[in-house]
């Protein structure tokens, strides 16, 4: 309400009341008779009351949950009014001269106090009405508004009918109105819903307040209905007002009497209501946490802390099922606990009689043990001497699978009631979502880390492959290596040797990924250094095997083929360690060069040495040597059939006249065409060497 409005609502009734006062002073000294003046005066009184109503209506707080405060305010006003009435009673020099059926003030001071007393009771009456209206409207139902308006209408009508100008003819209407008003008072007094929402503390206040208000309104009603000073004063001031205030006081008495009784009945449930409230807010808080806590540890710690709050448990712990790679059994891990030690939990869960986990996992339902000590499923816990008398275990179920269990304990038997089970089950659902969310986030972070590691390995692997190919007129070289994953296991390299010789290495490390890249780096180092020391490929493989067998994992091995092209002697010397045979196309002749040899890292020393051979081949101009990995021969078509050696050898024979790079491109395109839309699913490496021989020869 604006200040101007408030000022108008205050000043206008003041002026009207002053006018009434002046008129009344004149009235008690001069007999005016039943003239139009009294109608005017009555209108002024009503007008003043209407303004007073609007003034008071604007002062209410109208905040929800402020019911107790509102009642307290009303109590102060009503009690203040009664005290005022009492004080006026004892003022000297006041009195009424009884004449016929109306009392007339003896002097103007009495007139003044009649007016102030009337305004005071009218004000408390209006505040009472407004307060009750707020309470009644707290939880509206169908008919709430209708019944209340009906009451107010009857109240006003009854008051109006009491106007002296209507005389005794309409007295029966006044009586009827009074009776109907009382009926509506009773009807409207059953609207006590607001009490339910009060806290226990507020309810206690409410009981005291409503008892006092009941007494105060009852006192007002009695004072008004008997021929007391107050009764005379209000009647003199305004007969309708007397009706209005009387009926309203009765309403106040009945309503707050009812409120007193209702609150008294609700007191025992106050605690339950409060707990429900705190449960709700806990659930709400967890819902918020889901979106806020990304750190897994923080989340699970909050969960156990809140579990204890939600059901007032003594201790709580959360265990989650740890997922291992396939094949391995699942088992649980305690991820957080509250007010219980790790030793205690492990003593409970590792006990041979511990079956709770299995029971909850199988049933996927909450399990409540009311008497831990005498229940055969949990007797061992009591025997361990822990202060656990009742226990509630709730599963976290995600996609039909139990991903964990939330346990809560109390030190008294029958500590958990039905509500606790329900609330904790709801809570567990939220925890499930939160945990899954947090895990997903962690997983995606981990994947990102892994991806970056792979990128590093991939770059490393790229650098391991030769950046420059041999630049020798005697041989034309083309080579390519395509990993199927980010990091493959294929490898090739060239070594420049003394006496115009060139070494070619091709290999395949078992396995893929980062570890394969590391082995590859090792192989490169070994070949680059050993090739300078020994001239014999076989010798080199034997030494490489000795070195590698130390560092390779037991299930890892490397297949390698090492060939030395000797330009001056037009000779090729090669040894094979489990690798695919070299294809040699010489004129129309095709041959798979496959000296015996074991893969590197398979066996040590003696056996490797005896089973590894070396071959020498004389090269002719135009000869084609093809080195490759099994990605080529094992490429599959849609029917699952492999490309195979035969197809590869025949293709080489057919395209032998192409330059080295042309041969490489052709083989790759043939392989791709063969695989069709399935694509390649292995690493693929190809080294093509076309022999041109010494310049002098050509």
């Amino acid at each position: 309400m604006s200040r101007l409005k408030r000022a108008i609502f205050l000043i206008v009734p003041l002026i009207l009341l002053m006018a009434v006062f002046v008129f009344d002073v004149v009235r008690i000294t001069v007999e005016l008779g039943d003239s139009g003046f009294s109608l005017l005066r009555e209108s002024a009184v009503i007008g003043a009351m209407v303004f007073l109503y609007f003034l008071l209506e604007g002062t209410g707080t109208k905040r929800p949950g402020a019911a107790t405060k509102e009642i307290g305010r009303l109590l102060i006003i009503v009690v203040g009014t009664i005290v005022f009435i009492g004080l006026v009673q004892f003022l000297p020099g006041l009195g009424f001269s009884e004449a016929a059926d109306t009392a007339v003030p003896q002097n103007s001071l009495t007139v003044f106090f009649s007016l102030t007393l009337s305004v005071a009771v009218a004000a408390s009456s209006l505040v009472g009405l407004l307060t009750i209206k707020e309470l009644v409207y707290h939880k509206r139902k169908k008919g709430t508004t209708r019944n209340f308006i009906l009451y107010v209408t009857l109240l006003l009508l009854t008051s109006v009918f009491a106007m002296p100008m209507f005389g005794n003819d309409l007295a029966f209407l006044g009586t009827l109105g009074l009776v109907l008003s009382i009926i509506m008072i009773v009807v409207n007094s059953f609207r006590q819903n607001w009490i339910v929402f009060l806290s226990r503390r507020e309810k206690i206040y409410c009981i005291i307040y409503s008892a006092l208000l009941f007494a105060a309104f009852l006192a007002l009603s009695l004072l008004l209905s008997n021929r007391t000073f107050l009764n005379k004063a209000v009647l003199f001031f305004s007969v309708p007002l007397e009706r209005f205030v009387l009926i309203n006081s009765m309403y106040g008495a009945v309503y707050f009497g009812m409120a007193f009784v209702t609150t008294l009945f609700h007191l025992p449930t106050a605690e339950i209501y409060e707990r429900k409230q705190s449960e709700l807010s806990s659930l709400h808080n967890l819902g918020r946490l889901i979106t806020q806590v990304f750190d897994f540890k923080d989340l699970v710690n909050t969960v156990t802390k809140m579990t204890r709050e939600v059901c007032d448990a003594r201790s709580a712990w959360l265990e989650l099922v740890r997922e291992e790679k396939r094949g391995a059994a699942e088992h649980s891990e305690v991820v957080s606990r509250s007010n219980i030690s790790e030793q205690e939990i492990s003593a409970i869960t590792s006990h041979p009689d511990f079956v709770l986990r299995q029971l909850v996992t199988d049933s996927r339902k909450a399990l409540l043990i009311d008497e831990v000590g005498s229940d055969r499923r949990t007797r061992h816990i009591k025997e361990l001497g822990f202060p656990i008398a009742s226990l509630l275990s709730v599963p976290l179920v995600s996609h039909d699978r139990v991903i964990g269990i939330l346990h809560a304990t109390k030190s008294i038997e029958f500590g958990f009631d039905q509500d606790d089970t329900e609330v904790l089950t709801t809570f567990a659902d939220q925890v499930t979502i939160a945990v899954e969310n947090s895990r997903l986030i962690e997983q995606s972070l981990e994947r990102e880390r892994f991806r970056q590691e792979l990128m590093v390995a991939q770059q490393m692997q790229k650098r391991l492959l030769p950046q420059r190919f041999p630049d020798n007129a005697a041989m034309e070289v083309a080579a390519i290596s395509e990993p199927s994953l980010e990091v493959g296991g294929d490898y090739f390299d060239f070594v420049r040797l003394e006496h115009d010789r060139i070494g070619v290495v091709i290999g395949d490390v078992s396995g893929k990924g980062v570890s394969a890249a590391f082995y590859m780096a090792e192989v490169k180092g070994i070949f680059q250094s050993l090739s300078k020391i020994t001239d014999s490929p076989r010798e080199l493989l034997i030494r490489a095997n000795q070195t590698l067998i130390e560092s390779l994992e037991r299930n890892a091995f490397i297949s390698v083929l090492y060939a030395i092209f000797d330009v001056p002697k037009s000779r090729l010397t090669l040894a094979r360690a489990g690798h695919c045979p070299m294809i040699l196309i010489s004129g129309e002749k095709k041959e798979l060069i496959r000296p015996n040899g074991l893969g590197l890292g398979l066996t040590e020393g003696e056996l490797f040495m005896t089973s590894t051979e070396e071959r020498n081949i004389s090269l002719k101009v135009g000869d084609l040597c093809l080195f490759y990995t099994d990605g080529i021969t094992e490429a599959r078509n849609a029917e699952g059939e492999e490309f195979g050696y035969e197809r590869l050898v025949d293709l080489c024979l057919q395209i032998r006249k192409l330059p080295a790079s042309g041969i490489q491109d052709r083989i790759l395109s043939e392989i791709r065409a063969y695989c069709g839309k399935n694509g390649l699913n292995d690493d693929l490496t190809l080294v093509v060497v076309k022999w041109h021989g010494k310049k002098s020869e050509g």
Binding site: N596, D630, E642
Partner: protein, 119 residues
């Protein structure tokens, strides 16, 4: 992906693992689990029947490498049998016939174990 299956049966003094399908890096752990179980049960005379094995990759070969040492240390052996020509070629390329006894038929391998026991 292609399927891979391991079937296990026990005989008198030997165990047979029958491999079926496609043995590569993805399916190798299945075979590992089976071999590990045999070792845990102290069954060291193992015949691996490869009759229905359609493909073996280097990771698949690695599985045998991982276990052979332990098996032989316990006076047992892993003998292979019934390989298709294609699968044999993969073993042969790497020089496995030098390291493992490979038989045409499962029964030959079993007989070998029996003879070893009598000796």
């Amino acid at each position: 992906m292609s399927e891979f299956k391991v079937q296990h049966r026990d005989g008198d003094g030997f165990s047979v693992l029958e491999l079926k399908g496609y043995l590569d890096a993805h399916t190798a752990p299945d075979l590992e689990t089976n071999l590990q179980r045999l070792l845990t049960d102290k069954k060291f005379n193992i015949v691996v029947n490869c009759r229905d094995l359609t493909y073996i990759s280097s990771a698949g070969l690695g599985v045998f490498m991982a276990f052979i040492e332990d098996v032989r240390k316990n006076k047992g052996d892993i003998k292979l049998s019934n390989m298709s020509a294609k699968v044999y070629n993969v073993f042969d390329l790497l020089g496995f016939p030098v390291l493992y006894e490979i038989y045409k038929d499962e029964q030959e391998a079993i007989t070998k174990f029996r003879q070893g026991r009598r000796a």
